[in-house]
């Protein structure tokens, strides 16, 4: 099975406090720690497991800047067979539709049985996977938490819906799936693994190589644009306890007593 996995570099939410930049045009990006979007890591692991069981290869692609090759190398260290960075001046400030269009061109360069994306990106909108599938005219299912290969022609998949219930579907290959967290346990990539791929040159493909019309992507093609970042004023918010750790604990105990939790 030939599998394409779309991965995105995002600020790691576990490592950063995200704050709005002074002029509100962006988030504060100095000192941000970046990593692979959490959902995409599950997608790559799923692809590797499918190939381990059924043969084939895993290719990862990312639309990003010149520093995004680091996440592609990380996925190579994890076990992906090949990776491409899709980068071009013309791609900058693409909206979701633009990113999906660039990825669609990359997908058409190969003949993939399965295309995986994450269900959503930390900084985005749960849109690219479904758009990509529609552009490629292949069937799509989102929020997938289980994949079984039925025969060479179709998969049996489970989508996770409300309440953790599973919706079981059959889907024809080739198809695209967006992967939900928890589908597997992504393997650990240690320093040694990363080091092994450190010298790999990740091929970069631009608009010309991909056959993307620059007018349809990037800022030029965007119908959806971010105007600014802000932090909304929300109601009163919590009463934030003050003082030493011991004092905060005692104040909290008093509040809980007031609620009858502690006698």
């Amino acid at each position: 099975m030939e599998i394409l996995v779309c991965v995105k570099k995002v600020p790691d939410p576990a490592e950063n406090e995200i704050v709005v930049s002074r002029d509100g045009s962006d988030i504060e990006r100095d000192d941000l720690v970046y990593s692979v979007n959490e959902w995409d890591n599950y997608a790559v692991e799923e692809a590797i497991q499918l190939v381990e069981e059924h043969g084939g290869s895993v290719t990862v692609v990312s639309v990003g800047d010149e520093e995004s090759d680091e996440i592609i190398r990380r996925e190579l260290a994890m076990g992906a067979d090949a990776g491409n960075l899709l980068d071009d001046e013309a791609f900058h400030y693409s909206d979701g539709r633009g990113v999906a269009a660039i990825l669609a061109h990359a997908a058409r360069r190969g003949s993939y049985d399965l295309i995986l994306t994450g269900a959503q990106a930390e900084d985005a909108a749960a849109q690219v996977g479904g758009m990509l599938a529609a552009m490629l005219d292949v069937p799509y299912a989102s929020l997938v938490v289980r994949v079984r290969v039925m025969d060479g022609k179709k998969l049996k998949i489970a989508r996770e819906i409300d309440g953790g219930n599973l919706e079981i579907n059959e889907i024809d290959l080739p198809c695209a799936l967006s992967i939900q967290t928890g589908i597997n346990e992504p393997r650990y990539v240690g320093i040694r693994g990363i080091r092994k791929t450190a010298s790999v040159q990740v091929p970069v493909l631009g608009a010309a190589q991909l056959g993307v019309d620059p007018a349809t992507v990037g800022e030029a093609g965007a119908k959806v644009r971010k105007l600014d970042y802000f932090v909304p004023e929300m109601g009163e918010g919590a009463e934030i306890l003050q003082g030493s750790r011991e004092e905060m604990a005692d104040q909290l105990i008093a509040r809980l007593k007031g609620r009858g939790v502690i006698q």
Partner: protein, 323 residues
């Protein structure tokens, strides 16, 4: 130019989802005086019931009946909507597991703009709409402008808009004859219900809930000790279940359990809308988080900005020593 505004109504067991009335009030922002059309797809008697229900609140209801729509398979629903929607339509749908499945691909096939998970918007001007979305689990918000001159598909967050209570009644139009062939590459087989766990967190009055901030499987014990001291049980956010540190039945949220405790202690939980979506009944919320800007503090009653790994053991010890 005036766009025709539609809402797509999700339903179950012959009842419209709560999101339907919220979509209607969001649609009013787009079309303050113009009509709004509710689209209901499905099959059989349950479909008729939902259409009637919507007709009591909405001036126009399009019924789209087809056997392949008996279960809302997004691929089939998409095909159906592409055939019946006029060009340049603006369609609102819920940002739920069906909306996530349906919206992005639909916008591509309609060749219209798409914005997901909208929490606020203002009336359109000059063919553009300004909307508010959140990023990074609600840590920051953005204003987004969306060109709707060629139509748009917008998915709306649950609870972001009030339910419309005073919608004028209307008529059901059966448009099923416009539906063409819906055969598609994805077929619905069955629903498998989530497994029950060894505790039922939906019945508990005191929940001590662990999030990714607990950092390590061994630290779950810290939450368990506090729960014991308070006479409650441990629940958690999704990453804890993904890591297999606790069973799925302990997960609070839209893809987990809906709980209604009296007291909810959120330890190292950022407060994403999917997590908070499972927290009902207006509990007294205590949040412990080392990030003072975590969104959970906006909904909590009492907040402690501290390292939970230090604070919670101390808290537990002081509770126990007061016995």
């Amino acid at each position: 130019m005036v766009h025709q505004v539609f809402i797509y109504v999700a339903h179950r067991d012959g009842q419209a989802a709560d999101s339907a009335l919220e979509l209607l009030s969001a649609a009013r922002i787009l079309s303050p005086d113009g009509p709004v059309t509710a689209i209901v797809t499905g099959w059989g008697e349950v479909l008729d019931r939902v259409c009637q229900e919507m007709a009591s609140r909405c001036p126009e209801v399009w019924k789209l009946a087809h056997q392949d729509l008996a279960y809302p398979n997004a691929e089939a629903v998409r095909k159906c909507l592409v055939e019946v929607l006029p060009s340049e339509a603006v369609l609102l749908l819920a940002h739920d597991t069906l909306g996530m499945d349906l919206g992005p691909g639909l916008s591509v096939k309609l060749n219209s703009s798409f914005v997901s998970d909208v929490v606020a918007m203002t009336a359109p001007r000059d063919g553009a709409l300004t909307l508010v979305r959140e990023e990074y689990g609600g840590q920051v918000s953005t204003h987004v402008s969306c060109d709707i001159s060629g139509g748009a598909v917008l998915s709306i967050r649950s609870g972001a808009f009030p339910a419309l209570e005073d919608g004028a009644p209307g008529e059901v139009q059966d448009r099923s004859s416009e539906i063409g062939d819906l055969a598609c590459g994805r077929r619905f087989l069955e629903i498998v219900e989530a497994e029950a766990g060894d505790v039922d967190i939906t019945k508990e009055e005191i929940l001590v809930s662990a999030g990714r901030g607990i950092e390590d499987e061994d630290n779950i014990e810290i939450a368990e000790e506090l729960a014991k001291a308070l006479g409650g049980v441990v629940s958690c956010s999704r990453p804890i279940v993904d890591a297999k540190w606790l069973e799925k039945a302990r997960q609070v949220g839209t893809s987990g359990k809906t709980v209604k405790p009296k007291i909810y202690l959120a330890l190292g939980i950022s407060g994403s809308f999917q997590h908070l979506g499972g927290l009902k009944g207006n509990p007294f919320i205590v949040a412990v988080n080392k990030n003072s800007k975590a969104p959970i503090f906006q909904v909590a009653d009492v907040g402690v900005v501290d390292d939970l790994l230090e604070f919670v053991p101390l808290l537990t010890e002081r509770i126990n020593s007061q016995r």
